[in-house]
């Protein structure tokens, strides 16, 4: 991979640029790279989406299965989020079980969706204590060029918007799956915005090159009402309390932008003629 020395040389360059409000790819400090959102990219999934942020590409497939609920929540469905860093996506990804970065990514996306209460898990109960819907959200990182958090969270939400689960009939203890499908109902649209700290500057949507030299970063999930619902600070650097408040405000503002992009893409997908 990229060796230590060029990273350090690059850091001085990127820091200098950032202090002047500039970035290596010509963006402003608070701009996202171009974003594209595609729905229904995997035909065999119950819901799917592909999100590109610049050269980062993440695909998410949702599968709904009938399973048994957890004993402490017998009347609730189950949401499971998993992330795979597919080796074809980056020279730094290796085959094998998910490493700490993949586990963190999946757990943070899970937290954002779960805590926004986007999915009413009680709606996913079929027979209390016996049969519930298990919603598997599989994050598939296919091209890694920075900011996996935001791309994965956006793709996961888009895939859930695209999800249709079979309509079931209950006959005593038996669950009969019909041909009909109904959309998974979402009550909120949690959006992740990641803010990186580069010297004295805060930047939105860091690329891989920027991530390599970031002090640290903060991912903030916001709900449709503009409240925060999950945070995760990562990388071994520090934020001052003032920087954190600034980052949260920035995330609330950028979250709105991303959410309207998502809705716009969804409208186009639903009614292509109007596009």
């Amino acid at each position: 991979m990229i060796s230590k020395v060029p990273v350090n040389l690059n850091k001085a360059y990127l820091l200098n640029l950032a202090s002047k409000g500039a970035r290596i790819d010509g963006r402003g400090l608070k701009d996202y790279r171009p974003i594209s959102i595609e729905f229904g990219v995997a035909g065999k999934a119950d819901g799917s989406a592909g999100v590109r942020i610049g050269n980062t590409y993440v695909m998410v497939g949702v599968k709904a299965e009938i399973g048994t609920p957890f004993s402490d929540t017998p009347d609730e469905g189950v949401l499971m989020v998993n992330a795979e860093f597919v080796p074809l996506a980056s020279p730094s990804f290796e085959p094998g079980p998910p490493d700490e970065n993949a586990i963190e990514l999946a757990r943070v996306v899970d937290r954002g969706i779960r805590k926004s209460e986007a999915i009413n898990l009680k709606d996913l109960c079929i027979i209390p204590g016996k049969k519930v819907w298990m919603i598997w959200v599989d994050i598939y990182v296919l091209d890694y060029n920075g900011n996996l958090m935001d791309a994965s969270a956006l793709a996961a939400l888009a895939a859930l918007m695209d999800t249709k689960i079979p309509v079931v009939k209950v006959d005593g203890e038996e669950v009969i799956i019909t041909e009909d499908r109904k959309p998974l109902e979402l009550r909120d649209y949690p959006i992740a915005v990641t803010i990186g700290k580069l010297g004295q500057s805060l930047i939105v949507d860091p690329t891989l090159e920027e991530e390599n030299v970031l002090d640290c970063r903060l991912t903030v999930f916001t709900t449709k009402d503009g409240n925060t619902c999950a945070f995760q600070k990562a990388f071994p650097g520090v934020f001052t309390p003032e920087e954190i408040l600034e980052a949260v405000d920035l995330a609330i503002e950028k979250g709105k932008e991303l959410r309207s992009k998502l809705f716009e893409a969804y409208e186009k997908f639903k009614e292509p003629s109007k596009g």
């Binding site: 009347d75 757990r107 805590k115 409240n227 990562a234 071994p236 408040l245 949260v248």
Partner: protein
């Protein structure tokens, strides 16, 4: 829901364990409790009990992980199978893997890793009894254990959780409040430097609630900082004046 809702704040405004919203649980820190480790600490925060050991700086295996310009900090947060209500499998869970990462990243900014190139510093955290706030107790105790190991640091790292239960912002959540409350937000802080090294949150907070909770967490960290320093003084308070000067004159 068929079962009764648990009341987390009573009519007098007190919490399940009788505390006020901004009141910490009883806190005890002991330094140098293990014979083999280079540094160690034991912490009791309410009913949460943890043991932390620091080994290193020491030779790093496997060698290819060595960093040419600094020590490699490794951290393992692990829960004893008997630390929780239902037996926990001793194999590392996804939660433990994530917490090991965030705890490592919370401690790393405090340590002068560049003093010990090519070596490893290992921090082992064992949760013996869990009653909420274990990642915070782990950070608090680990930084004391690092100091006990004589590893040069910029500051101690203190951590404390804040949260929202029954609509109230409260500090230092216990297990019940963590489970049935609305929000849990762990914060780690270096008080002398005034910087935050860990921040996580789950649950819905408005912008105003967040700011209030965040400030409360920093105040709680200041209080815990005193307990950390007292614990270190109890062990090292007797150290001769001259030798202290020698160490500080080094830099």
């Amino acid at each position: 829901m068929s079962e009764e809702r648990i009341v987390l704040i009573d009519e007098r405004g007190l919490r399940v364990d009788g505390r006020k919203p901004d009141e910490l649980r009883p806190l005890k820190i002991e330094v140098g409790v293990l014979a083999n480790a280079n540094g160690s600490a034991y912490i009791e925060q309410g009913k949460s009990k943890l043991l932390v050991a620091v080994y290193g700086p020491r030779e790093l295996h496997p060698k290819h992980l060595a960093l040419p310009d600094r020590a490699l900090l490794r951290c393992r947060y692990h829960m004893a199978p008997f630390s929780v209500e239902e037996r926990k499998s001793p194999a590392p869970s996804r939660r433990e893997i994530e917490l090991s990462k965030v705890i490592r990243e919370a401690l790393e900014p405090a340590i002068l890793l560049d003093r010990f190139p090519r070596t490893a510093i290992d921090v082992f955290i064992e949760v013996l009894e869990a009653d909420g706030g274990t990642r915070c107790a782990a950070v608090t105790a680990a930084s004391v254990a690092l100091a006990d190991a004589g590893i040069p640091m910029r500051d101690l790292v203190v951590a404390c959780a804040v949260g929202k239960v029954d609509g109230q912002i409260v500090v230092d959540l216990c297990d019940l409040e963590d489970k049935y409350g609305e929000v849990d937000m762990p914060v780690a802080y270096m008080p002398s430097k005034g910087v935050v090294t860990l921040l996580q949150m789950d649950g819905i907070l408005t912008r105003e609630e967040f700011e209030k909770a965040f400030k409360m967490a920093l105040e709680a960290c200041e209080k815990i900082y005193q307990v950390q320093k007292d614990a270190l003084r109890r062990k090292f308070g007797g150290v001769q004046e001259e030798s202290v000067e020698e160490v500080s004159g080094d830099k």
